[in-house]
Symmetry: C2
Subunit: 209 residues, 2 copies
């Protein structure tokens, strides 16, 4: 059986139903903890599921921020200082990662018990236990007319990855790294690999590589 919702019925639904449904529609989402620090030295850590690849040359990443939600400190710190970090989340600390979304007055690192660490004099803090850490500097921020969400475009300055998860061709083995994915607002998953597929060409059968 197929359930159908048109735009009118979505807008008439209870707000929690609309929020959970629409948040789920894109499918599995990337999950990263974003680490920042404000000018007076207070660190901040918050989970984000709207981080996406923009380009490899130059290496560039995008993050979409909703201005009036719990992620506000993160956006303010990025606009104020120009720096942030992305940190993959694993099964060992996904509950602490979820808890960083609570509205703390103090640093979320201390509040939830995740250790902050610094490398190569980069201004923003990394999550020590994360198997993939990415240092980014602010390139551009764009406010979308539709709902005033803010797209932050970041330049990738440093990548730190546990070598057990780095394939010879540069791709990451997310299963070996233990990276967690999420859906909607609050559901967490591990990945179970189906296959890696060869480059697709017309008339040529795909192979698992």
């Amino acid at each position: 059986m197929i359930r159908h919702f048109d735009k009118a019925s979505i807008l008439e639904a209870e707000s929690f139903f609309r929020r959970d449904l629409i948040n789920s529609l894109s499918g599995y989402k990337s999950l990263n903890l974003i680490g920042t620090k404000n000018k007076i030295g207070t660190t901040n850590l918050s989970p984000f599921s709207q981080v996406f690849h923009i380009g490899a040359t130059p290496p560039t990443v995008g993050v979409l921020f909703r201005p009036h939600t719990v992620e506000r400190h993160t956006l303010e710190n990025i606009l104020e200082t120009g720096f942030f970090t992305l940190n993959h989340v694993t099964e060992e600390f996904y509950k602490e990662a979820h808890q960083t979304a609570a509205r703390y007055e103090e640093s979320e690192f201390e509040a939830v018990g995740l250790k902050e660490v610094y490398f190569d004099n980069f201004f923003a803090p990394f999550v020590a236990s994360s198997p993939v850490k990415v240092a980014c500097s602010l390139l551009e921020s764009i406010t979308l007319q539709v709902n005033e969400t803010v797209l932050v475009v970041g330049s990738i300055e440093h990548v730190y990855v546990e070598d057990k998860g780095l394939n010879a061709d540069g791709s990451l083995d997310l299963e070996k790294l233990g990276t967690v994915t999420c859906s909607g607002l609050d559901t967490y998953y591990l990945g179970k690999k189906l296959a890696r597929l060869s480059y697709p060409k017309p008339g040529k059968p795909l192979q698992e590589i």
Copy 2:
């Protein structure tokens, strides 16, 4: 052991290495087939991993397009006609989904053997076998200065979901739906649920819900 790449070493690496590494950094990605049709009636289908939630009120989704890649027909059709569909991919047809990225002259639906279907007089085609189908109309397109990728902002007009995967609160059960996720350019996964977690508040222990 941690491997460190700074921006200079990323830019000096072989292009395949840079592409695979940077494409993997965000973690697991959403996977959707985007269905479009041009003005003269030729349909197009292509896989996208840069689809993300923008907002629930109004229901809005974002897709990032690289102008000079295989996805070009999709972007041209959206800008020309104003309509597109998002379709979740399952284990049953993820290889056909991957194959739609080949450079076909004819419609990818026919070329790879996926059936197109239409509902509610919506202009763009859906993938019949997809458990989650979303009809979108073009709201806004924004070209990013950094590399001329194009962000398409879509208004969600219709949602069709198999009811086995629709929870009472509106969220989707991606495991029951069989939705596939991907990483990098060519690796596909199913999700294995860890937990759904309660709303985080300072000082309040999280619960699995």
